[in-house]
C-alpha cells in the first residue's frame, strides 16, 4: 500500500501521569530514584505494573547537566527496560514534548500497545550554566548568562507591540499564584504580591528576578496506550488529537526570534490534525513553555491565540488567569518549576490532566481540549500536542 489510507493510526490515550514534587535539590534520591518516582506514580495512576509496559521512551536535556553520558543505559534497570526497547530522545528544551510524541507514535503506528514515557533533570548534580558555557576555544564567552539570551528578544517584542512594561510581572504573579494550587510545583511563594514581583531586582533589563524560572530537580512520566488499553483504564483517559514537532536553524538571516516560524507551523499542524480552526475558542486550557514571563504574550501570538501585537492584551485583561476564558499555565508553568529536560513533558502531562479532570485544585472547570507546548534551543525546536477528553473522531 502506498498511501496512509490503509494505515489509519491507532488513537493514543494517556492513562497514567506521574511527576515528582519539583525542588531545587532532591538530595534523598539517586538519579534512578528520582526518575523512578515519577514512573511509579504514572503506573499507579494507570493501575498497571512494569510487566504491562512494552517499551520505554526517555528524554532529557544535555548529558553534561548530570555528567552521565546516555544516562538511559544506567537507568535501564530502574525503568524496567531490561528485555524491552528503550529509546532516548534529545531535542534541547523541547525534549520533554518530543519524547512524549515519539512514544505516542509507537502506539499510533501499532508497534507497541502500552508505552512508558519519561523525562527528567537532576540539576543539582551539577550546574546548568556550567553545562551551557563550557570553555569552547575561539568562541566569545557567553556575555550575559541564561537570561541574557532571552532578554533582548523580550525588548524586541516590547518595541514591536508597544506592550506596557508591566505585562511580564502580571504573568509571573499569575503563574506563581497558580502554583500554590499545584502540590508538585517547585515554588510556593505564599507571600508574593504583584508589588513584590514588580520590585524584584532587574537582572537582565527588561527581565526581573521574579520573572525568571527556577532551577529544579524533577521528573515526569506518562503511560500511553491504545484503545484497548484505554478501555481497561481505571480513570478517564486523555486522547491525543494532534501532535507535531517543527525545527528551524539556530541562527539565520531573517529569523524572527519573537515569533519563530517553526512555532507557527507546529501550531498550525496540530490544530489541523485536531480539526481546530479557532484555537482561542476551541481550546480550553494551555500549558505553554514560559521560562521568562514575557514569553506568555509572545507565544499567545505565535500559537495563534492572538493576532500579532495583541498577545499582551489577553494577558493584561485577565484572559489567561485560571478563571479567565483561556487559562494559561494553570499548573504554575515553567516559572514555578523547571527541571529542564522534564519541563516540556510536564506541560504535555498537565494539559492531559486538565482534560482528564484530574488537575485537582488547579483544574480548569469543564476543560475538554488542551494544548501542551514545549520549545528549546535558540527558539528553534518546537513540539506540541492537543489532547481531548473524547477519543478522536468520537
Amino acid at each position: 500500500m502506498s498511501s496512509a489510507a490503509g494505515t489509519t493510526k491507532e488513537p493514543v490515550a494517556i492513562v497514567g501521569i506521574g511527576q515528582t514534587r519539583h525542588v531545587a535539590a532532591r538530595r534523598d534520591v539517586s538519579i534512578a530514584g528520582l526518575v523512578r518516582e515519577a514512573a511509579q506514580r504514572a503506573l499507579q495512576d494507570a493501575e498497571l505494573t512494569w510487566q504491562d509496559i512494552d517499551a520505554v521512551v526517555i528524554g532529557k536535556a544535555p548529558d553534561f547537566f548530570e555528567g552521565v553520558m546516555m544516562p538511559e543505559l544506567y537507568l535501564a534497570d530502574a525503568l524496567g527496560a531490561v528485555g524491552k526497547p528503550l529509546l532516548r530522545v534529545h531535542t534541547a528544551g523541547s525534549v520533554g514534548g518530543s519524547t512524549a510524541l515519539v512514544a505516542a507514535d509507537l502506539v499510533a503506528a501499532r508497534v507497541h500497545r502500552t508505552v512508558l514515557t519519561l523525562a527528567f533533570e537532576k540539576q543539582s548534580e551539577s550546574n546548568a550554566m556550567w553545562g551551557l558555557s563550557l570553555p569552547v576555544p575561539f568562541q566569545q564567552p557567553l556575555l550575559a548568562g541564561a537570561g541574557g539570551f532571552f532578554a533582548p528578544h523580550v525588548r524586541a517584542y516590547m518595541r514591536r507591540t508597544g506592550a506596557p512594561a508591566t505585562v511580564g510581572s502580571l504573568v509571573a504573579y499569575k503563574d506563581r499564584r497558580n502554583a500554590l494550587k499545584n502540590p508538585y510545583a517547585h515554588l510556593h511563594e505564599h507571600d508574593l504580591t504583584l508589588e513584590k514581583v514588580q520590585a524584584s531586582p532587574m537582572l537582565w533589563d527588561p527581565v526581573r528576578y521574579s520573572e525568571t524560572c527556577p532551577s529544579s530537580d524533577g521528573a515526569c512520566a506518562m503511560v500511553l496506550t491504545d484503545r484497548a488499553g484505554a478501555r481497561r483504564a481505571p480513570r478517564p483517559a486523555a486522547w491525543v488529537h494532534g501532535g507535531a514537532m517543527r525545527s528551524e536553524p539556530t541562527l539565520f538571516a531573517g529569523k524572527d526570534f519573537v515569533s519563530p516560524q517553526a512555532g507557527k507551523d507546529c501550531a498550525a499542524a496540530v490544530y489541523r490534525q485536531a480539526g481546530i480552526t479557532d484555537p482561542r475558542r476551541e481550546i480550553d486550557a494551555v500549558e505553554m513553555y514560559v521560562p521568562f514571563s514575557w514569553y506568555e504574550p509572545m507565544w499567545l501570538e505565535n500559537l495563534g491565540f492572538a493576532a500579532p501585537g495583541e498577545g499582551w492584551k489577553l494577558t493584561e485583561s485577565g484572559v489567561t488567569e485560571l478563571d479567565g476564558d483561556l487559562p494559561v499555565n494553570p499548573s504554575g508553568g515553567v516559572l514555578s518549576a523547571n527541571p529542564i529536560g522534564a519541563s516540556g513533558m510536564i506541560r504535555f502531562a498537565e494539559a492531559a490532566l486538565q482534560v482528564r479532570g484530574q488537575a485537582g485544585e488547579h483544574q480548569v472547570p469543564g476543560a475538554r481540549r488542551a494544548l501542551g507546548h514545549a520549545y528549546g534551543g535558540g527558539s528553534q525546536f518546537f513540539s506540541m500536542w492537543v489532547v481531548g477528553a473524547d477519543a478522536p473522531g468520537a
Partner: protein
C-alpha cells in the same frame, strides 16, 4: 567581495571539560558506600533470594524496588578478567593491573574493580581474591583500593544487615575531567584569521545571497556551503539589547553593562557583543556602533557609539 583565497590553516585547541558532580545516593547506595567506609560489603537481596553485589536499587530482572540488605564477604572469586598493561589517568592503580569482575563470597553477582597482581600469568578466572582497603576511606567505590590474590576457601553466607551506620554518607562528589581538542572548522578558521587582522569577514550563501557572520560553513536555510567571503562592518546597528545587572562568574566585567545584538553593515544577521563608551541607560535600539579592539584579544572588546544619528527602526527591524 573577494573569493575565498588562500584558506588559512584550520584551527584547533584543547578544550578541558571538568566538573565535580555532586551525586545524592538514595538509601541503598548510601548504605553500600557507607559500609565500604566501615570495611563492610553489603549486597541487596531480590524477591527470589539472589544477593546482588554491588547492591542496586531496582531488580534488573523484575524491575521491583529492592531494599533488603545483607552483608557478604570481603573475599571472592574472579569470574572474568582483563590485563591492563598501561593504566590510564584516574584508573585505580598506576602500575599494570587486571580489571576483574569479582563474585564476593555470599553474592550471586559480580562487582567490577581492579586486581593488583604480579602479571597476567598470575590471573585466571576462578582465582580467589580479597579486598584491599584504601587507607583513607570516605564512602566511595574507591574505598576498595583494589583486590589482591588470596589463598583461602569460600566461607561466608550473606547475613541480614540493617544498612544503618553512624554518620551515613548520603552523597558523593565525583570529579570528572575529559580532555578534548576542539576544531571549529574551515569557515570559522577563516573568520578567526581575518579577525586577527581586525577585519570581520562573513560568507555569502551562493543560493540565497545572505551574508553570514560569523560564517559556519553552511547556509543554515539552504543547506549549501558558503564560499564567497565578504568583509562587513566595521560599523553596525544595535538591533536589540539587555542591561546585565548580575555579574557572571567567569567574566571580569563591571555591572551594569549592555549586552547587545549588533547587525554589522553588510551582514544579514546580528552578532552579540557588549556596548561601552556610553552610559548603560542611554543605549537604545538603532544606536550606531563600531568595534573597540584591545591588544591580545581575539574579539573586539566592545562596541562604542559612532556618533552618527540612530538608524531608523524600519531599516533594521528585519534583523531583530
Amino acid at each position: 567581495m573577494t573569493p575565498t583565497s588562500g584558506t588559512p590553516e584550520a584551527l584547533s585547541a584543547p578544550l578541558v571539560v571538568e566538573f565535580p558532580f555532586t551525586r545524592s545516593l538514595g538509601p541503598v547506595q548510601s548504605a553500600f558506600l557507607t559500609g565500604l567506609r566501615e570495611r563492610t560489603v553489603l549486597g541487596v537481596r531480590t524477591a527470589d533470594g539472589r544477593v546482588l553485589v554491588p547492591p542496586v536499587e531496582y531488580d534488573p530482572v523484575t524491575a521491583e524496588e529492592i531494599r533488603d540488605l545483607a552483608e557478604v564477604g570481603t573475599t571472592g572469586t574472579v569470574t572474568t578478567w582483563a590485563w591492563n598493561p598501561a593504566p590510564r589517568r584516574d584508573q585505580p592503580l598506576d602500575t599494570p593491573f587486571a580489571w576483574v569482575l569479582v563474585r564476593l563470597d555470599g553474592a550471586d553477582t559480580a562487582l567490577l574493580h581492579v586486581l593488583d597482581a604480579a602479571g597476567p600469568d598470575a590471573v585466571r578466572a576462578g582465582m580467589r581474591v580479597r579486598v584491599r582497603w584504601a587507607r583513607e576511606r570516605t564512602g566511595a567505590i574507591t574505598d576498595i583500593a583494589c583486590f589482591e590474590p588470596y589463598e583461602g576457601g569460600e566461607a561466608s553466607e550473606p547475613v541480614p544487615h540493617t544498612g544503618e551506620f553512624a554518620d551515613p554518607v548520603t552523597g558523593i562528589t565525583t570529579p570528572a575531567r575529559l580532555d578534548y581538542t576542539y576544531a571549529p572548522g574551515r569557515a570559522q578558521s577563516r573568520y578567526l584569521a581575518a579577525l586577527a587582522e581586525r577585519r570581520t569577514v562573513g560568507e555569502r550563501c551562493p543560493s540565497c545571497r545572505k551574508v553570514y557572520v560569523p560564517p559556519r560553513g553552511a547556509c543554515p536555510t539552504c543547506g549549501v556551503a558558503t564560499r564567497d567571503q565578504v568583509e562587513v562592518g566595521p560599523d553596525g546597528t544595535v538591533t536589540t539589547f539587555c542591561i546585565v545587572n548580575i555579574k557572571a562568574k567567569n567574566l571580569d566585567i563591571e555591572v551594569p553593562y549592555v549586552y547587545a545584538h549588533i547587525a554589522l553593515d553588510g551582514a544579514d544577521l546580528a552578532l552579540h557583543a557588549r556596548i561601552g563608551g556610553i552610559p548603560y541607560d542611554q543605549v537604545r535600539m538603532g544606536l550606531r556602533v563600531r568595534p573597540v579592539w584591545r591588544d591580545g584579544s581575539r574579539f573586539p572588546d566592545h562596541y562604542r557609539p559612532t556618533g552618527e544619528p540612530d538608524a531608523d527602526y524600519d531599516s533594521y527591524k528585519g534583523l531583530v
